[in-house]
């Protein structure tokens, strides 16, 4: 998921040439308060002129604790928008946003249901993340580690020990709701080795995707989060062995000398599904 500043015409124009699965057009932190109006206009023009969408389109609006969010939504809601990313999300905010979106969808005769991706970046949001994931329209949760660390008054480090708990809690909650846990961006855009290590940690804790703040991060993130060819081959072997076993009426079978049971089969199915999603089969 690639963040693109909503006030940068050339970056908006090129946003769809990269291999990100989602483009997050940012009207919040990337846009100075003096430029909020012009950024909204620019994004509106971009949406009006967008002929073919190559990735999921997400707009990060300003928080519901600001005076900007209403203008953001009024200007940009249209059928080309797939999801709204909500900063500093609380359950109450999500309910309110759901109502606003329903009204706008009805007014504008938008047939699809625009999703919401809340950002958990406050300690109090993390404490209600189990409820957040089950709110209407919520399709994934992004960890916002910079603000979260600030709220905790801890130093944000490359090692990321300070966000271990947040990552784990978000990942478990999202898994329970069967939605994506989206990892926080890695802010050193020149350190792709550090980025790969950061991805490794996030994956090990159950994060399912990662946001990027620079296009040059996408290649590493895609490599890390997509199933490798080796993994895909393994999953294919498992599923083929399952078909063969079913034909023979065998309940239990083994692959590569290891017994295959239901969780292994489900893991293989998930890998193939993910590979299909990323078009790497």
């Amino acid at each position: 998921m690639l963040f693109i500043p909503g006030n940068n015409p050339s970056m908006l124009q090129n946003s769809d040439v990269f291999e990100s699965d989602s483009i997050i057009i940012d009207l919040e932190d990337a846009v100075n308060v003096m430029e909020k109006d012009s950024a909204r206009n620019l994004v509106r023009c971009y949406l009006d002129n967008l002929k073919e969408k190559k990735a999921e389109l997400v707009i990060r609006i300003n928080g519901l604790d600001t005076t900007y969010y209403n203008d953001d939504l009024n200007q940009i809601i249209c059928d080309k928008v797939d999801a709204i990313m909500l900063p500093k999300a609380h359950v109450a905010d999500l309910k309110k946003l759901d109502e606003i979106l329903t009204d706008l969808e009805n007014q504008r005769k938008i047939t699809k249901k625009i999703k919401i991706i809340p950002i958990v970046e406050l300690a109090e949001s993390l404490l209600e993340v189990e409820k957040i994931v089950f709110q209407n329209r919520v399709d994934g949760v992004l960890l916002g580690a910079e603000d979260f660390s600030s709220d905790l008054e801890v130093v944000r480090t490359k090692g990321g020990e300070e966000i271990f708990y947040a990552r784990s809690r978000i990942a478990v909650s999202c898994a329970a709701a069967k939605i994506d846990a989206i990892d926080t961006p890695f802010t050193d855009t020149k350190d792709n080795i550090g980025l790969a290590k950061d991805c490794e940690k996030a994956i090990s804790l159950g994060m399912k995707s990662k946001s990027c703040i620079h296009p040059n991060q996408i290649e590493v993130v895609n490599e890390m989060f997509s199933p490798s060819q080796k993994t895909i081959d393994w999953a294919k072997r498992i599923l083929q062995a399952k078909i063969d076993a079913d034909k023979k009426g065998l309940g239990a079978f083994s692959v590569d000398g290891k017994m295959v049971d239901k969780p292994v089969i489900e893991r293989a199915q998930k890998i193939i599904k993910k590979a299909e999603k990323y078009h790497i089969l």
Binding site: Q13, N14, V17, H214, P215, N216, E219
Partner: protein, 507 residues
């Protein structure tokens, strides 16, 4: 007269008749005799003494190489002497001209001290001045291989080759690899050395003896030692690092995926890239591919950067063929590594040389200022007709390599790079096989073999007409740019024929 690409050819010049037409004329290729020296070289005390000793007068042709690139001081010192003597109608035959020469050349062009320029590449203020029609005679733009050919045949007659030489020895030999301003191999100076009527080496470092000098004293008539021939740091042009631009990197990634699908990257393969950031990014992705699959290439060639030196040192290529060093790591390597092999301009790209290095290339990755629906490429002018470069080795490598790939952004400064017709043709479309942009890849329809191999590709391969349409959807169709009808220069193809003309800029 119009040539086969429907481009105007001024009277007195031969017309381009296809990129492989030279093969019909190989038997007619006649070199002039190499210069013969009858006595030892003369030690000279100043640039003025050079002019006196070699009788440089009105109408003389003086040649220079560009290996010191933006760090060269020798051409500038010679310009001061021309101005001092108020010589007229001098023909400047420099292999390239850089902004570093702008100040020295300006008045000489305006005051018609220099009235003719033959070069392979020029940009900066001198290019602007010539574009405004201030050069009295025609600007002649050659290719690197073409310049070697034209010197060897006597088409370009040089009265005096003034060769900036980083190190000379007491016997009058010279090298570019040593000395306080070592700039590496001097491949472009060799035709001048062998065929100019007179040759003088100008250096700031003299030693007792140079082992294996590339400039042999057999050809040297004069030697001048001065305080400084320039600044070796000027050879680094700023385009020798891998791009960090995400669009450039995306292009490079797609280019490499395509080459992988075509099966180009395999043991024993050969390649050349330009020194631009995107070209080097392609090299970096190819390098990754080579490491992952234990692939060892035969050679890489061209102007050499530290990046290729690193690949040589890591055993990814067996050898490098180097005509010009683009950075100081390449300079160092050219001196110490026996697999870092010197090639002169003729061996590099002269179409009439017996199997030049460019003919052994499996792949060349090049840039473009414009490319058109016939795959003709412009690297000589911008879309307004302003001179911004020149072929250099573009046409030579495109003709020689088995696969010529152009990598470029689809839109630069809000102007689409694909044109219905390019402003100036530098390299003919018949020699261009693949275009890779961030929004699509095009294969020249004449390469049905490549298209067949890519039948099942998941890459975004499209017709060039569709990619042009897509760029118009983003920028709208640019207005036609009117140009004057006054021809101020010609673009010579590597065989000496005229592939296009250069026009005076509209006021």
């Amino acid at each position: 007269m119009k040539n086969c690409l429907n481009r105007f050819v001024p009277e007195g010049f031969a017309s381009f008749n296809g990129s492989n037409d030279y093969k019909n004329h190989i038997s007619e290729y006649k070199k002039i005799p190499e210069k013969k020296k009858t006595s030892s070289y003369k030690t000279l005390g100043s640039i003025g003494e050079i002019f006196d000793y070699f009788n440089i007068t009105n109408g003389s042709t003086l040649s220079f190489h560009h290996h010191l690139r933006n760090g060269d001081a020798v051409l500038n010192l010679v310009c001061v002497e021309i101005k001092k003597r108020d010589l007229k109608d001098i023909h400047l035959a420099a292999s390239s001209l850089f902004p570093n020469n702008d100040l020295a050349l300006h008045d000489l062009i305006v005051n018609q001290n220099i009235t003719k320029i033959t070069t392979n590449y020029l940009n900066g203020k001198t290019a602007e001045l010539i574009g405004k029609g201030k050069l009295k005679e025609m600007l002649v733009m050659e290719t690197h291989g073409g310049r070697a050919r034209s010197i060897e045949t006597g088409e370009l007659k040089i009265d005096l080759a003034i060769i900036a030489t980083p190190c000379v020895d007491k016997d009058g030999n010279g090298t570019g690899k040593e000395g306080k301003n070592a700039c590496g191999v001097l491949g472009y100076a060799i035709p001048d050395l062998h065929y100019a009527k007179n040759v003088v080496l100008v250096s700031d470092t003299i030693k007792e003896k140079i082992e294996n000098p590339e400039l042999s004293n057999e050809y040297v008539d004069g030697l001048l030692i001065i305080d400084s021939i320039g600044d070796k740091n000027g050879i680094v042009s700023g385009t020798t690092n891998i791009t960090k631009d995400p669009v450039g990197l995306k292009i490079a990634r797609d280019a490499t995926k395509l080459l992988k699908e075509l099966g180009v990257i395999k043991n024993g393969f050969t390649m050349q890239t330009g020194a631009g950031g995107t070209s080097l990014a392609v090299a970096s992705y190819i390098k990754k591919e080579m490491i992952e699959n234990n692939i060892i290439g035969n050679f890489a060639s061209g102007g050499i950067t530290g990046y290729y030196v690193d690949m040589l040192r890591n055993g990814l290529f067996e050898k490098l063929y180097d005509v010009q060093c683009f950075d100081l790591l390449a300079v160092e390597s050219s001196l110490v590594d026996k697999n870092h092999i010197f090639m002169d301009a003729s061996m590099y790209g002269n179409p009439y040389y017996n199997n030049p290095i460019v003919n052994g290339l499996d792949l060349v990755v090049l840039g473009a200022t414009e490319i058109d629906l016939d795959y003709n490429v412009n690297v000589t002018t911008d879309s307004f007709g302003k001179i911004i470069g020149g072929s250099g080795g573009h046409s030579d490598t495109a003709n020689g390599a088995k696969i010529t790939m152009i990598t470029t952004q689809l839109i630069k400064s809000r102007i689409p790079i694909i044109k219905e017709k390019v402003t100036t043709i530098s390299t003919p479309g018949e020699d261009v096989d693949i275009l890779v942009t961030e929004r699509g890849i095009c294969i020249n329809p004449k390469r049905q073999d490549l298209l067949q191999k890519l039948e099942n590709s998941k890459l975004n391969i499209m017709k060039i007409e569709d990619l042009l349409k897509l760029s118009y959807e983003i920028t709208t169709k640019p207005a036609n740019i009117e140009r004057s009808n006054e021809v101020i220069g010609v673009v010579k193809y590597r065989d000496g024929t005229i592939i296009d003309s250069i026009y005076k800029l509209k006021e």
